[in-house]
């Protein structure tokens, strides 16, 4: 059975139908890309999955259980973590604190245990430190060592994107949602990001749903590609199938161009 599935999910804002009757499945260990022109509803899809907005209709299943109607932090606790297209780091916290903060959902110690410094709380705290360092070490030398104590605002753009992914992994998700992980990166960094997404599955075992505009990245990472336009799934399949699909070309280039081609 698929790890994650959408069943007829619809969402509209006022008169604008952003997602309509969307079905999708992501199997365990799969990397699925969502593509589509700007305004196709990709980020809204992520927002609906993570509980920022409830869907108007339909069901969202994780591990066979519905996550519709849960608070966003509960959905994260169930195993869905995401990054943001417009970066949303905790800018005035250090690199390590950013990652440690995301361990909140799967840790326990409350105010009383913290103030009394119980052995369990101290063990948990050591574990959070270890987890954070491990999550950051996944990105090689870029976010470790002296970077631990550096405030997030001092990072370069590419490192911020990496830090967002590290933060999401510290929430220990099953499903990782990456919203344009390669946006604003140069070709070398983009290539690196492609490899990194592959490693996130191969080494860390995440199932990944990714929104991406860079077709090199999409081609490099995807098991399957889903194309959206105006909230409707217009194509699904391997990269080659979707890339040559008439409706996809149509959506990206406009119908008149497509007719001439």
């Amino acid at each position: 059975m698929a790890l994650f599935g959408l069943r007829g999910v619809s969402k509209s804002f006022g008169g604008l139908q952003v997602l309509s009757d969307l079905d999708m499945e992501v199997g365990e260990g799969e990397i699925v890309s969502v593509i589509g022109p700007n305004g196709a509803g990709k980020t809204t899809l992520f927002n609906v999955i993570t509980g920022v907005y409830p869907p108007d209709k339909g069901d969202i299943l994780l591990d066979g259980r519905s996550i519709v109607g849960l608070e966003p932090h509960e959905i994260t606790k169930r195993g869905v973590a995401r990054t943001f297209q417009t970066l949303r780091l905790f800018l005035n916290m250090t690199v390590k604190e950013n990652v440690m903060a995301a361990a909140y959902g799967h840790t326990r110690a409350g105010v009383l245990r913290t103030v009394l410094r119980t052995p369990g709380m101290r063990r948990e705290e050591r574990e959070i430190h270890r987890l954070a360092e491990e999550c950051l070490a996944f990105f090689g030398e870029r976010l470790v060592g002296y970077r631990f104590d550096q405030p997030a605002y001092s990072l370069s753009y590419a490192n911020r994107r990496r830090l967002e992914i590290a933060r999401a992994t510290a929430a220990r998700p099953q499903l990782l949602l990456l919203d344009e992980p390669a946006a604003g990166m140069n070709p070398v960094e983009t290539h690196e990001m492609t490899e990194l997404i592959g490693r996130l599955r191969a080494e860390a075992g995440y199932t990944i749903l990714v929104i991406e505009h860079d077709m090199h990245v999409v081609e490099g990472i995807s098991d399957r590609v889903v194309a959206l336009d105006h909230g409707v799934k217009i194509a699904e399949g391997t990269f080659d199938e979707v890339a040559t699909d008439a409706r996809v070309i149509d959506a990206y280039l406009g119908s008149s161009r497509a007719d001439r081609m």
Partner: protein, 497 residues
């Protein structure tokens, strides 16, 4: 002052280090000399050592002061530090602009007072005298509960909207406190005296926790310091825990925090409740220590004072807000009407002189300013004397050496008339001009400004101490906040990058 940076003799740019790292290092290395080394040394002292130093100083303070001073400085500082630490949880860590904070202070105080005093609720129900070990926890819990309840409807609000709702709550509390002496439920019962109205609750019992029975100022001082140390330690542990990290995360970006698995709404309520609980504790101590509570103890001026401490010290920094409480309380007490004008004058000229010595570099510019002031002052005085002999026959407030210097350089008319008022306006214009000028023009303008300031001080300000107190206090706050916008020990925060 431009061009005085250490010469850029850095060999080759270090590969792998970025701008932030090199800037930090430059910042550290740039502080050469004795002060630089002292600062680096201070930075390396661990926080536990600071706590020990703080406790040691706090412990010997009563030996160095008389009871009146201990009350004004020691006890006030400790109480305000407690309040500032509590507000820092809400404002500095969780980033919630809570303007109702002072109400929790009041709720703690009133709860303690109503349960441990000779207050009469009705003609027959009088004098509930519960001991402190029961009433202090009840006061803390009541404040925390009300904090929770106020947070409940406001947890979805942020920024200015939250500020308005909580400010309304503070005002509501004040109204109830000042008029709650005849409360009747729907007019069915005869009035119950809940708060004592404008007269407050007098005859509050001293704290009795088994063998701990403070009665003197010294005892209350120690009691408050112990409470302060316990609260500070607990908060220090808390901010380094998952709860603390979650608070700062929600301050930075509430939506991202929620999506990273942190229950933002409950965390806000927790911050509200813990802040309120600390304010409640401070309130209970206040009630017992001054053996009474009055609505005036919890007005908006107190709220603003606590905010000033948090902001001046550096919101988010525990050491900072405690320092803020110390600085503001001490400055306010030093400027109080009980301080003699002579001492105040000494302080006034002293601060100006120190500021000149610190701020004006290099030395020849400073020499020009001081020399220019002397020459100009003497010349103006001679001319004024030639024009009208009475213009130099007024009294100088300052005594001793400072008085002699002032008498030599500043025009001190026996009958100043309207001159001080014109001079005051001219002084403000000159100060504004100073902020707009730089280089030689600024240096040229400083001596006449200094003389104007001295003239206004001697003829106008020192004669009206109550007004002067607030002018100086405001000027000091403006100066400190301009010098360090992030607060004394605060970290500069970046909003958008």
């Amino acid at each position: 002052m431009a061009g005085e940076r250490p010469h850029p003799d850095v060999p080759t740019p270090r590969i792998g280090a970025d701008e932030w790292v090199s800037r930090e290092q430059e910042h550290r290395e740039g502080r050469g000399g004795l002060t630089g080394r002292a600062l680096s040394l201070i930075e390396r002292i661990p926080p536990a050592t600071w706590l020990v130093v703080f406790i040691a100083i706090a412990a010997v303070l009563p030996l160095l002061m008389n009871t009146g001073d201990l009350n004004r400085y020691g006890l006030n500082v400790a109480l305000f530090a407690l309040l500032a630490l509590g507000l820092n949880v809400v404002v500095g860590w969780a980033g919630l602009l809570d303007l109702g904070y002072v109400a929790f202070f009041g709720i703690g105080a009133y709860t303690y007072a109503l349960l441990s005093s000779s207050h009469c609720f009705t003609e027959t129900t009088c004098g509930v005298h519960w001991p402190g070990w029961a009433t202090i926890p009840i006061a803390i819990a009541t404040a925390a509960l009300v904090g929770f309840l106020v947070g409940l409807p406001s947890r979805r609000l942020s920024g200015d909207y939250l500020a308005i709702v909580t400010l309304f709550f503070a005002q509501l509390f004040l109204t109830v406190a000042a008029q709650g002496d005849r409360v009747s439920a729907l007019g069915l019962t005869s009035g119950v005296n809940l708060t004592g109205g404008p007269n407050g609750v007098p005859d509050v019992d001293p704290i009795r926790i088994f063998l701990i029975r403070p009665t003197t100022v010294e005892a209350y001082y120690y009691f408050t310091v112990v409470a302060l140390v316990i609260v500070a330690t607990a908060l220090w542990l808390l901010i380094r825990s998952r709860t603390g990290r979650a608070w700062t995360s929600l301050r930075e970006d509430a939506l991202a925090a929620e999506l990273m698995g942190m229950p933002v709404n409950s965390l806000k309520l927790l911050a509200f409740s813990i802040g309120a609980a600390i304010a409640g504790l401070a309130g209970a101590i206040l009630a017992a220590e001054q053996t009474g509570v009055f609505p005036g103890n919890f007005n908006l001026a107190i709220l603003i004072t606590i905010y000033a401490m948090v902001i001046l010290g550096g919101a988010g920094s525990m050491a900072g807000v405690v320092l803020g409480a110390i600085v503001i309380t001490v400055v306010f007490e030093v400027l109080s009407p009980t301080t003699s004008p002579e001492k105040l004058s000494l302080l006034f000229y002293g601060v100006i002189l120190v500021a000149l010595l610190v701020k004006i570099r290099p030395w020849w510019r400073l020499a020009f300013v001081l020399g220019g002031t002397v020459v100009l002052g003497y010349a103006v005085r001679v001319i004024a004397h030639a024009v009208s002999a009475s213009s130099t026959e007024g009294e100088v407030v300052s005594g001793g050496f400072v008085g002699d210097v002032v008498e030599l350089l500043v025009v001190t008319p026996a009958q100043p008339g309207n001159w001080p008022k014109y001079a005051y306006i001219a002084l403000i214009v000159a100060l504004l001009a100073l902020t707009r000028l730089d280089g030689w023009r600024r240096t040229l303008l400083i001596p006449p400004t200094l003389l104007l300031a001295a003239f206004v001080w001697e003829t106008l300000l020192v004669q009206q101490p109550t007004v002067t107190r607030f002018i100086l206090f405001g000027a000091l706050l403006v100066a400190m906040m301009t010098a360090r916008p992030q607060g004394l020990l605060g970290k500069l925060r970046v909003e958008i990058v």
